[in-house]
């Protein structure tokens, strides 16, 4: 008993000592995450992060922006999905951005990010994102962090192999995931797949100055599925590499039927040669329908233009343009290393990671070292183009990123880990678990010629037991690892927006200096802008009421409107007169069945409102703009259709004296 008593005192002392010292060990202001060295991710209040991290939102359709290494979320950029918070897809100005050849599409699935590059290095100008479901590519302007342009991709279905970028941002690509019937005969039996279904990859040119996109040409391919892609770099810069699956051409139960063959392909495209063929008139113009949507920061409005044809190159007419390279078992990731010499294929079902050599590819093409043809396209001999294989790397390899020291980092979905290996020697150096089922991963500058290294971020699909449970659906997560040493070390684990797929990280210094603060009022060319309180007015045009409204701390002009009749539609065109950074005004009116407006300084945005009952409706500013934000409000009166209430508007107009009392109404 005595012994036990002493033992329990000992335990208490030990525990107390532990608690005291654990507390004193906390880095100032940061708590230590279990299993991680959170102090390395700690960015003190008032300090900036080192990197911006642009992260795809997956099924949210948006792109989110985080700081690294802190994992702090700065912004969610609406891209392919409506965002009532920002009025994206609800304001009259932004609705055309989500127009497609199928009409207005309010949602999509954004999987991959490509940051613009010059000389295969990040230049901080634009971010591109793909819409997976209704094939489109978006360009985000990194001055405003807003979607500037969306182009639809015809002859495509499931724009997964997109939007990867060439060394000087000459082109972004869009490879179709689904092969589909193309041409005049679209209504065909599904089981006529082998006969009628084709694939395409599109090269979308990017204007050097404006960033404006244009579908330069498409390449018609055999009816296989395209998964991911990467452009070459340096000596391989004139090439593009696309991973392909379903070389079996199955149209049902692909999980079995597309996994029959020992090897599928990586498709090597000599895009410089394709460009020459396109210029030389080797392509055929095909009638198609797709839209091209652009947002103008001067008119503060988007336009959607229907396009009617696309140039298609058929490999039959364009020799030496594309080659197939055998790659084990349904390759997913297809990543080129910083030198451009090595192409890493990651077969989802493969037990090895094959690494191909660009020098060997060139030699094999020169020597016509083929292993037959696939649908008339030469297949290079596997052994002739292989640099080597990473043996037994893990289970379910998906994607590979690179650091600045010649190492590769491959994600493994099935074995939930990141494996670090040397690109030249193919030796595995280190492996760390992720929690759990990692998909993509990101090293700052990882897809460029100049990786910044320092961190690798894992984007995980499953987070059981990592966070407090939230019912049947749990958050996806990001995990950041320090890779400055030989061993990878987990430093932080944080939830994400939507389901992240690919992400890129770029030094803050390349972006922050260009970040725009306001839109200049004198450059506002919106047709309904009121550039000053004195220009505010209300006009009737047929059965439309147009309110040219201004907002400035802390009132709307006008803030009292009468004379609207039932059956009329009201357009509130609100111009934010502020010329001060970080002072948006919001606008909302009761019963509006769309959303709010969030109007940036110097901008004009329009909310359409069709009242359905007579009465007086409140409207107010939704963004806490100032000390008198709560006072920023007004009324609009709606009368029955036959009423004789004249159309009037005012702000600050003194109410007439009420005749029944002798006290004059005091001026405020």
């Amino acid at each position: 008993m005595k012994y036990n008593f002493q033992k329990s005192i000992l335990v208490i002392i030990l525990l107390m000592t532990g608690i005291v010292f654990l507390q004193s060990c906390k880095p100032k202001g940061a708590s230590t995450a279990a299993g991680g060295d959170a102090s390395k991710a700690y960015v003190a209040p008032g300090k900036y992060d080192e990197f911006y991290n642009f992260v795809s939102g997956g099924f949210s359709g948006q792109m989110s922006v985080y700081g690294l290494p802190s994992g702090r979320l700065f912004r969610v950029i609406p891209v392919f999905s409506v965002d009532p918070e920002k009025g994206w897809g609800y304001s009259e100005e932004t609705k055309p951005m989500l127009n497609t050849s199928h009409g207005f599409v309010p949602w999509d699935d954004l999987h991959h990010i490509a940051l613009s590059v010059t000389g295969s290095e990040h230049d901080g100008r634009w971010a591109f994102g793909n819409a997976n479901n209704t094939p489109r590519i978006a360009r985000i302007d990194l001055k405003t962090f807003r979607t500037a342009e969306i182009i639809e991709i015809p002859n495509s279905a499931g724009n997964h192999s997109s939007p990867f970028i060439t060394e000087n941002s000459e082109y972004v690509v869009a490879g179709t995931r689904f092969s589909i019937p193309i041409g005049d005969k679209l209504d065909v039996p599904i089981d006529s797949y082998k006969e009628n279904f084709k694939g395409t990859v599109s090269l979308i040119s990017v204007d050097k100055t404006t960033g404006n996109m244009n579908i330069a040409f498409q390449i018609l391919t055999p009816g296989i599925n395209f998964d991911l892609a990467r452009a070459g770099k340096g000596k391989s810069a004139g090439w593009f590499f696309f991973s392909c699956y379903n070389s079996e051409k199955a149209n049902t139960l692909l999980e079995v039927n597309a996994s029959q063959k020992d090897k599928d392909f990586i498709m090597c495209v000599n895009w410089k040669k394709a460009e020459e063929y396109a210029k030389a008139g080797k392509g055929v113009k095909k009638a198609v329908k797709y839209v091209h949507n652009k947002y103008d920061d001067k008119t503060h409005s988007a336009t959607s233009t229907m396009m009617n044809e696309v140039l298609v190159l058929d490999p039959k007419d364009c020799p030496d343009m594309i080659y197939f390279m055998p790659c084990p078992k349904s390759p997913h990731g297809c990543d080129t290393d910083p030198t451009g010499e090595y192409i890493v294929g990651s077969g989802k079902l493969a037990a090895v990671i094959p690494v191909f050599s660009f020098a060997k590819i060139e030699a094999a093409i020169a020597a016509k070292n083929y292993d037959g043809e696939y649908d008339g396209i030469p297949v290079l001999k596997y052994d002739a183009v292989l640099h080597g294989e990473v043996k037994k790397p893990g289970l379910g390899p998906l994607h590979t990123e690179f650091d600045d020291k010649g190492n590769a980092y491959t994600s493994f979905f099935v074995s939930s880990e990141i494996v670090k290996w040397n690109v030249k020697t193919l030796e595995v150096i280190d492996r760390v678990p992720t929690y759990y089922s990692i998909g993509h991963l990101c090293v700052p500058g990882g897809p460029t010629k100049k990786p910044w290294g320092k961190y690798v971020i894992a984007y995980n699909k499953i987070t059981k037991d990592r966070y407090l449970p939230t019912g049947p659906e749990l958050t996806q997560s990001a995990q950041i690892y320090d890779i400055s040493g030989e061993k990878m070390k987990l430093i932080l684990d944080y939830p994400t927006i939507g389901e992240p797929h690919y992400a890129e990280a770029i030094p803050a210094s390349l972006i922050m200096k260009n970040s725009q603060k306001i839109f200049k009022l004198e450059e506002n060319k919106h047709a309904y802008a009121a550039l000053g309180d004195n220009n505010a007015k209300v006009e009737r045009k047929g059965n439309e009421i147009h309110v040219y409204m201004t907002s400035i701390r802390s009132h709307f002009t006008p803030d009292n409107i009468e004379g609207v009749k039932l059956g009329e539609t009201v357009y509130f065109h609100v111009t934010n007169l502020e010329q001060d950074w970080d002072v948006p005004h919001g606008f909302a009116v009761k019963g509006a069945n769309n959303a709010e407006l969030l109007i940036m300084p110097g901008e004009t945005q329009t909310l359409k409102w069709t009242p359905e009952k007579a009465g007086v409706y409140p409207m107010y500013c939704t963004d806490f703009c100032s000390a008198l934000h709560q006072e920023m409000q007004g009324y609009i009166r709606v009368s029955p259709a036959g009423a004789n209430v004249p159309l009037t508007f005012s702000t600050g107009k003194t109410a007439p004296a009420v005749t029944s009392t002798k006290e004059p109404v005091k001026t405020k």
Partner: protein, 187 residues
């Protein structure tokens, strides 16, 4: 007993050791970019319209006012979103005060008095000169009221200071006045 004492010491040294390694890693990863600790007024911004403080700082006729705002620690508050109406006495207006008044107010033990006077020149609402009408009374930030008189288009406050110019700023309006407004004596 010996054993019991020595174990916590071993543990203690273990935790001290782990503390050291924590400190080291924190220092190694200090982000490279600049710290932002100067308050809103220190934000570098060449694009936005100037706020009321920046307008005052840019005026050679308001050096006394700017010095007083700094002494009263009102610069950060006036760089805020506002909205403000600031009645900004010129240097000449301050010079009209009895000799030694300004110097006295600038002493650290008079900070509360200085704040009271300066806050009597600020209103939370951005109002143009046309808004003020003869006999109108408005409340100021310090809690006291001012009264306007309007004659021949000239707006006078408390019968002592006239608005000689009005300058819009990003977060409010500045009305330049030719006299210093003195809050009513406390009862």
């Amino acid at each position: 007993m010996k054993k019991i004492i020595s174990l916590p010491i071993i543990l203690l040294s273990l935790f001290v050791a782990s503390c050291n390694s924590d400190k080291k890693t924190a220092a190694e990863t200090t982000p490279t970019d600049a710290t932002v600790t100067g308050g809103q007024e220190a934000v570098k911004d060449d694009e936005s319209q100037k706020d009321v403080v920046k307008v005052a700082v840019g005026s050679k006729d308001h050096t006394t006012l700017v010095a007083a705002l700094k002494q009263a620690e009102l610069v950060t508050a006036l760089s805020n979103a506002g909205p403000f109406t600031v009645f900004a006495p010129t240097n000449a207006a301050f010079d009209k005060l009895p000799a030694g008044t300004v110097d006295g107010l600038m002493k650290s033990d008079k900070k509360a008095d200085l704040q009271n006077i300066l806050q009597y020149h600020v209103m939370t609402s951005a109002l143009k000169a046309e808004f003020f009408t003869d006999g109108m009374t408005l409340g100021m930030v310090n809690g006291d009221n001012i009264t306007f008189s309007v004659k021949d288009g000239k707006v006078m406050i408390n019968g002592t200071a006239t608005i000689v110019a009005s300058i819009p700023a990003s977060n409010g309006m500045i009305h330049v006045i030719d006299g210093v407004l003195l809050p009513p004596a406390k009862k």
